[in-house]
């Protein structure tokens, strides 16, 4: 794989390019979940995927996220399943999908004769949307068209010395090749704000990063504890800042070009931090109730692919964008190798270097971008979580227009 490698892609009307051509079946309230799930399971095609929002109350964050997901470059068409009386604005969502040049159909259970008839109508709608989506124009894309996100889940004491720095090296290779990379979970970067601010391309962006981490610390303090699960401690991590330090190494060593919120897209290539902690008072509980909520936010900001590092052993994948799993802990890899794409534990057991494993991740990523299935795709993982949140739009300092050229931090 070189910086000039090309791979096949799907061309969307807005000029963005996708590495998959998924058809989404979207339920707009939990009451429509069963019907939507049955449509997807009856069709039985890995590229026909179920996503949805459970709540009946409208929420502008959830709408914006759903709009970005339904118009994601990896998505070729959409079937919306509404109960009928929920708060979600189904017409606005359908209009947004239609305006993006994608085929879309809406089914309203209350107008369609109920469960049985809506499932039948939905299966027929998916067939039509699939056929229309298959007509999309094909093109090719390079690494400079790719947006890659990274997340860690089930971290332990090995994450910060094997898988995370290896992903950091992969991120450096990607940024140098002109790709866009996003790392996240400001709540899991508490303690790293000063070093991150020093990597920001402008002083104002550095201040915005520190403010985002301060917000995260305050938010988690109100909730009573940080983003630290019992398994983290079983695996040898003792404090939030120790976990943060390990998580931070996923970001590599390049300058930080901007700070985005979920659903906001980086305008130009480079490295970005995602601020996932809601603005304003603590209202809807934990910022992200589980890893997949973060994955969905990365995808809503345009990520084609997700690099997921795990120590204890997460098995998840995602709807819409392939997840590549990098296992930090050699003992976990031995137990769960069928779920893992990369064994970063070799850094401990076989003296592999961080650079070797980072290059291996880079090559696996290029292969999955070119159409090969990741392990989680192969196993049919298509997890999805979307819940209530609130955000103010990012300020002008978060995406500086005039920045110094991307290059090594000196």
């Amino acid at each position: 794989v070189s910086a000039r490698s090309r791979f096949p892609a799907f061309l969307r009307q807005d000029g963005r390019k996708g590495i998959r051509n998924a058809v989404l079946v979207i339920y707009l309230v939990e009451c429509a979940h069963h019907v939507a799930r049955r449509i997807v399971s009856e069709v039985g095609d890995h590229q026909v995927q179920l996503i949805g929002f459970p709540g009946c109350y409208p929420n502008s964050y959830a709408f914006r996220m759903m709009e970005q997901l339904a118009c994601h470059p990896n998505v070729g068409g959409v079937v919306i399943v509404s109960l009928g009386c929920e708060g979600f604005d189904r017409d606005a969502l359908a209009n947004a999908v239609s305006a993006s040049g994608r085929p879309v159909e809406t089914l309203v259970i209350q107008h369609n004769g109920g469960t049985r008839t809506t499932i039948a109508a939905g299966i027929a709608a998916v067939d039509r949307i699939r056929a229309a989506a298959a007509q999309v124009e094909r093109t090719s894309m390079g690494l400079n068209d790719l947006i890659v996100g990274t997340i860690c889940g089930g971290s332990d004491g090995t994450s910060g010395i094997t898988a995370n720095p290896a992903v950091g090296h992969c991120f450096d290779l990607l940024v140098d090749a002109g790709a866009t990379c996003i790392f996240e979970e400001t709540g899991e970067l508490i303690g790293c704000e000063t070093v991150m601010a020093e990597r920001a391309v402008t002083p104002d962006l550095g201040e915005a990063i520190v403010a985002a981490i301060t917000k995260a610390e305050r938010y988690y303090a109100v909730l009573g504890y940080g983003s630290f699960a019992p398994g983290n401690a079983d695996g040898g991590l003792t404090t939030q800042e120790e976990k943060s330090l390990g998580a931070y190494t996923k970001s590599g060593a390049r300058p930080i070009n901007g700070l985005v919120k979920p659903g906001e897209r980086p305008g130009q290539p480079g490295l970005y931090l995602m601020d996932v902690v809601p603005d304003g008072d603590v209202r809807y509980g934990f910022p992200n109730i589980a890893d997949n909520a973060e994955i969905v936010e990365l995808i809503a900001s345009g990520c084609h692919l997700i690099l997921f590092t795990t120590g204890r052993g997460s098995v998840v994948g995602s709807a819409i964008s392939p997840v590549i799993k990098i296992c930090a802990n050699p003992d976990t890899f031995a137990r769960l190798h069928d779920d893992m794409d990369i064994n970063a534990g070799r850094i401990l057991t076989q003296s592999a270097s961080i650079e070797q494993v980072g290059t291996e991740i880079f090559e696996a990523l290029a292969s999955v971008a070119a159409g090969h299935s990741s392990r989680s795709e192969e196993l049919g993982h298509q997890e999805f979580i979307l819940t209530y949140k609130q955000f103010e739009p990012s300020g002008p300092h978060c995406l500086p227009r005039h920045v110094r050229p991307v290059g090594r931090v000196t």
């Binding site: 303690g191 019992p230 040898g236």
Partner: protein
């Protein structure tokens, strides 16, 4: 009498660090070499867990990869396990399964 076994590698991630990270399961009674001197492990140390590289006093900062990761809550001897019983966050408290799930609904 069984021969005392050498523990698997403990990693020093940064020269400023006062803890070492276990690179493989180590068990009580094993011998570990720290900065040229030998110590006997008093506890089992699982992969990814930390032991003290130096004697640590109450209130002292613990450094991993050159960064502070918390404050010592009771004196720690060289080669002793460093974890939640003797190290606490400078930011947010950690939680375990027992602290939350038996206290009614949420807390």
């Amino acid at each position: 009498m069984t021969e005392k076994r050498l523990a698997p590698t403990f990693l020093l991630l940064d020269l400023r660090d006062n803890v070492l990270i276990s690179a493989g399961a180590a068990y009580a009674g094993m011998i570990v070499a720290i900065d040229g001197r030998h110590y006997t492990l008093a506890q089992d140390i699982a992969l990814g867990h930390k032991i003290a590289r130096t004697a640590l006093c109450l209130g002292e900062q613990v450094y991993r990869s050159g960064f502070p990761i918390g404050t010592v809550t009771q004196d720690i001897a060289i080669a002793e396990h460093v974890h939640a019983h003797n190290l606490t966050s400078n930011y947010l408290p950690a939680h375990d399964r027992a602290s939350d799930s038996h206290n009614g609904f949420g807390s």
